[in-house]
Each structure stands twice: as structure tokens, then as C-alpha cells.
Symmetry: C2
Subunit: 365 residues, 2 copies
């Protein structure tokens, strides 16, 4: 069997603690199931800055490019608030996305039944919620040039960011959304601001054309992104797959994640295009939550989002569907048993730390 | 007494029906209180396009520039989905904002106690909610150049939008936010994406400097806009005044409006800078909701947001604070009595149409 090469980038804050729990699952799969994972490790974010003065070193970038999949923890924290813009912790993540060409960011917003009451929404609005947000990840205002601050004299500065989208970028992300919709409830809602942005006009046209040419069997709707934000809050279950650009995807996926009441629990996958020869996609998996510096190092962080990200990795990078299903089921079972970290604690539940939560999931796996 | 000059631009969809109810209030104030309002009327949006082939005529623009305040209904509808981009209904609204230099958009998100149950959030999270979103309205990606779609050949097009912010634009909008915070709970939260956007970096710097120089008595916090969207959904009452850019303001204010359960009820004010000589600000008042083409012409639209927008007009353009308070109280009283339009109908309430709702509010006024 060929080795399965994983690069682990735990990053900052609670990243390393959460990653440690995934490492236990990998070891178990190697020992008991002969899964053949070979792991390497690198630094990203503030920890890379402290070691190398950059947000990710060239050596670790080379490892990321060579790996079958990257597992990413979280980056950032007050310690690095004042480092120069180009080497701020987020720059490491943005470079990974860009250089690995991970254009498709899959963000499931599901509501674990055991946690429906933790949502700020009325439980009946989120029970059984299962949305997939497909966010474009390598274009738009995140990477467009010019991206500058210029001194105009007279105490005035001018900041410029540029949103750029080409036809092919919109085509490939909408194809991903339509394909995934076919494996779900066969509905896609595309969101943009075509009433204000030219990129919204092009987005709308290309999604419509891609649909007509290749995915006419999927139901397609369009919504303005602001109305989409409203509808997510009003009645989230109306959606199946949402496809949107990088910046709107950032906002809308965070709102959707918060709706579920399961924020500390949500994973994401960032995928590249299938390689022409091998069919393999470059991929990075990361929790939706951040580095939570306030609780880092205390052993109380919730590792579920990181573990669920590894489940996505099994599914999308290694086609280990049975194992992915089992790992997700193990998470649900542990929650059903009332085992909880502090962030999702509820009356009558048993509160545990990061390590115990990892052990409990492994025991159910 | 000098005349108070109002330009009414009812627009499309339910705009005219809602505006008719404001006209009754204006007539009452003139007849009974000698308020001295002089009203003129114009076309905007699809109705202007049908009449003149543009989203607002030069003549109506001149009237808007001359008026003390503009009352704006709503624009747009499927009928005009395919008109050229430059004359689409929204272009009329965007031109008004830009040419009148209405850089400060005030969007209160309040929860009428009688409607707390209509929110998709748990009632305890929204009861008593009173946030003010101060959105920059004449800059950013809405108006920055280049804003183009270019044919690259090979079936590829490239769309570009440009976010531009200068120091003075951020200074003046943050000053408005700080000043308003002083009349409320003295707290401002500024939202941007400084971890990704250069305009976010400048935004953060200028808000911080303005605070330090002139408003150090106000509490200032900063939040990334995506985290801000999350926090709005998680615990909206943590906020007092939120200040943010044009595009984030569009998204965040819609999410905030939906949270209140009172979407059909929320007004907004768009203000210019005080005139150097007279101290007067140009101003436009409009409901947060859209033109709702699906229910237009049926006499069932909720006119409350339009009437509440007129209350803001009394307050901000004419300093008629008592009258504004009384009008807002009249709205709350009518709701307390269980009088409801269809969109906010609840068990045991009495359902009425647009005209009856207007009459009921006038009777309480
Ligand atoms: C950390 C930050 C650069 C990132 C983004 O804005 O994309 C984050 O918010 C996310 O959603 O993954
Ligand atoms: C109609 C549209 C151009 C407008 C905007 O995007 O500003 C609307 O959504 C708003 O929030 O006032």
C-alpha cells in the first residue's frame, strides 16, 4: 500500500492542543487498521514568525506542496498583533490557500441534535440543520491587486483593495457546488451583490451559464448576499448548498456556523483542482473556529472541530468513506452521552477537558 | 416660519403604498400643528426608468439637492431585472447617496417588545435590543474605480470592483458614530477585516486615532467583521453603536435587522455633513426593507418602517424631537394593542391592511 502523507500544522493558541487529539486517532488507525499514514509537522502563524520571522517558512511550504493533505490548527493571538502586515499570522494561511490553489472551501454548517438548544436561534429552526457553504478561496478581494496604502500628503492616506474575478474562477467553484449538491438535496443558492458590484454581475452570469450547460438537473436560485445573510438568520433550513465569493463566504459561513450552536465543532475542507494525471486534489483541513488565545494552554479547548476536519480529510483526500462516517458517528455518540467540553456544557452533562474528549471519541471510534 | 421642504420619492413596489400613509401624517401635522411642510414628489427606480429611461431624472435630482430632506420608499422588481446596469433601479438610490454626499447611514436595530416573539432568536436574546449601526455610505466598493467587466478573449471575462477609502472618509464617519454613542450608552464597536484588507488596516488606524484625539470618553472596541457577524447572532445586546464600511454595513445591518423580528418596521437615515453656514445636513430617509414586489398593490404592506423613517426625519432634519418621540410612541402603542399587518401577525392579534395601520398610528399620534 502506498503511504498516505499528512502534514500537520498545529499553529497557535489552541491549535496544538486540538491537533494532539487528532494525532491519537492517526496512531490508532495506523496501529489497528494499518492505515499507513505518514505524518510530518511544520510551523505556521505566530509560532512560525517566532521561529523564522515569517508566517510560514519555504521549507514548510515545500512540505505542504508535497503532502497528500495538510491538517491545519489555528493561527494568531494578541502576541502578534503588531508584527508587520506581510508576516502577520494570517499570512501563512493565506499563502497556503493561494500557493496550493485551494480554490474550493467547503464549510458544512450542521446542527448536532444534542446541541440544538445551544443555538441562539429557536431550536425548531436549527434542529436537523445541514447546509454546505462552498466558498471561493483563492480570488476576490483577498488577493486582487492593487492592495495598497498610499500617503497622499496633508495627513491623508488612501487604502485600496481590489476584487477581481475571472470567468474560469467562477466556473470551477460553481461546478464544485453543483457536483456536491447532487450528492445532497440537489439545490444550490448562489449569492452575490450584482446590484452594486460588477464582480456580482459576472458571478451571476457564469453560475447561470455553468448551470445551463452542465448541471441543469440541479435546482439553482440566486440571492443578493445581504438578503442571503437575512435568510440564513430567518430560516436557515431553506438552504442546501450555498455558493459564494471569498469575502461574502467568509461572513456568511461564520454567521451560518454560529447559527448551529456548534461553532467549536465545525470543520472545513479547502480543495484544489484534481490533478490531470493522478486525479488527486491538493487539500487542507481546518476547524472554522480560531486560535482562542484566552483559553490556550489550559487543556479545556474543544477538539471536536479539529477531529471533524480530519474526518473530512479521510473522506475527501483518501476516499476512506467508511472511516469518515464512523469518526463522525463517534463524535455524535459522545455528545449524545452528555460528554462536553466547557464551551458546549449543558445542564446534566459531564464536563471534560481536551484530552478526555479526544479519548472519549477514540473509544467510540 | 420658514417652510420645511420635503421631497417624496415613493419608488416601486410597496413604496407608494407605504408613502401614502406618511402623506396622511404630514397633512395632519400641517393642518393641526401648523408644521409648514411643503412637499414635492418625484420618480426613482423602475418607475423613473419607465417614464424617463433613467433611474432618476436630472430634474428630480435637482429637487433632491434643493430639499431639506428626501423621503424614499423602495426601488426595484422583476420587471426591471434586465435593464442595462447603469439605469437599473438601484442606480437611482446610489446616485442620490453619492450626489447628496450622504456618507452617514444610521440603521437602528431595535426590537419592539410586542414583537420579541417574532424573532428567530430566543426572545431573551432580543428583548429590549437597541443597536445603532452607523454605516459609511458614499465610499468603499460601492463607488471605487475601476469597476469594470472586460472581455479577455477565449471566452474569458474579468470583473473588477475597487474598495477605496481615504483618511477623511473614515474620520468623519467615526466622528458621527462617537457623537451618537454619547447620546446613548457611550460604546462604539468598529468592524473591518484588517487581517485581509488594507482598507481594514487604515480603517482601524483612523478610528483609533479619531477616538484618541476627540472621543476618548467613549468606549471603543474593534472586531473583525466576520466575528462581528457571529457575535450579532450570538449575543446582539452586547453592542451599542457599530461603525463599519459600506459593504460590511450592508450585510451586518441586514443581519441585525432580521434579528429584531421587526424587519418590516425598521427605518434608516442617511445624512451628509453639516453645511458650513447654515449647519443643515442633507438627508434621505428610507425603510430598511425592499420593494416587496410580491405583495405590491394589494394594500397589505406594512407601512411602519416608512412612518418610522419619517420620525427619524423629524428628529434629524427638523429637530422636532417631541414630535419624533410621539410618532415612535404611537407606533409602539398600536403594536401593543395587537394591531398587525400580515407580516407581523401573531395569535390573538387583529390583522389590518396598509391604510388601516396608517390610520391606527395617526389616531395614536
Ligand atoms: C484568518 C482569516 C484570514 C480567515 C479569512 O478571512 O479567510 C478566517 O476568517 C477564515 O474564515 O478562514
Ligand atoms: C438596494 C441596494 C443598492 C442597497 C445597498 O446595497 O446599499 C440596499 O441593500 C441597502 O442596504 O440600502
Amino acid at each position: 500500500m502506498t503511504a498516505r502523507n499528512l502534514l500537520l500544522l498545529p499553529g497557535d493558541g489552541i491549535g496544538p492542543e486540538a491537533m494532539a487529539e487528532v494525532r491519537k486517532i492517526i496512531a490508532y488507525m495506523n496501529d489497528e487498521q494499518g492505515a499507513g499514514f505518514v505524518t510530518d509537522e511544520g510551523l505556521v502563524g505566530g509560532s512560525a514568525y517566532d521561529a523564522h520571522g515569517v508566517a510560514i517558512s519555504e521549507e514548510d511550504m515545500a512540505k505542504a506542496l508535497a503532502a497528500d493533505a495538510v491538517l491545519f490548527g489555528a493561527v494568531g493571538g494578541p502576541k502578534w498583533d503588531d508584527v508587520p502586515y506581510d508576516v502577520r499570522p494570517e499570512a501563512g494561511l493565506l499563502r497556503l490557500r493561494k500557493d496550493l490553489e485551494l480554490f474550493a472551501n467547503l464549510r458544512p454548517a450542521i446542527c448536532y441534535p444534542a446541541l440544538a438548544n445551544a443555538s441562539s436561534l429557536k431550536p425548531e429552526l436549527v434542529e436537523g440543520l445541514d447546509i454546505l457553504i462552498v466558498r471561493e478561496l483563492t480570488g476576490g478581494v483577498y488577493f486582487g491587486e492593487p492592495k495598497t496604502i498610499t500617503d497622499l500628503g496633508n495627513g491623508q492616506k488612501r487604502a485600496i483593495d481590489t476584487q477581481v474575478y475571472d470567468t474560469y474562477e467562477i466556473e470551477r467553484i460553481s461546478a464544485v457546488a453543483f457536483e456536491l449538491a447532487r450528492t445532497r438535496n440537489n439545490r444550490v443558492c448562489s449569492m452575490e451583490k450584482r446590484n452594486v458590484m460588477k464582480s456580482g454581475v459576472l458571478w451571476n452570469q457564469v453560475v447561470t451559464a455553468t448551470h445551463k450547460e452542465k448541471f441543469a438537473d440541479v435546482q439553482l436560485d440566486h440571492m443578493l448576499a445581504d438578503a442571503g445573510g437575512m435568510q440564513l438568520v430567518r430560516a436557515p433550513k431553506q438552504f442546501d448548498v450555498i455558493v459564494t465569493d471569498n469575502l461574502f463566504g467568509d461572513m456568511l459561513s461564520d454567521v451560518a456556523a454560529m447559527l448551529t450552536g456548534s461553532l467549536g465543532m465545525l470543520p472545513s475542507a479547502s480543495l484544489g483542482a484534481p490533478d490531470g494525471k493522478t486525479g488527486k486534489r491538493k487539500a487542507l483541513y481546518e476547524p472554522v473556529h480560531g486560535s482562542a488565545p484566552d483559553i490556550a494552554g489550559k487543556g479545556i479547548a474543544n477538539p471536536i472541530a479539529m477531529i471533524a476536519s480530519f474526518a473530512m480529510c479521510l473522506r475527501y483526500s483518501f476516499n476512506m468513506v467508511t472511516e469518515a462516517d464512523r469518526l463522525e458517528k463517534a463524535i455524535a455518540n459522545v455528545l449524545d452521552k452528555g460528554i462536553r467540553t466547557g464551551d458546549i456544557m449543558a445542564e446534566g452533562a459531564r464536563q471534560v477537558g481536551t484530552v478526555e474528549m479526544g479519548d472519549a471519541i477514540l473509544a467510540e471510534f
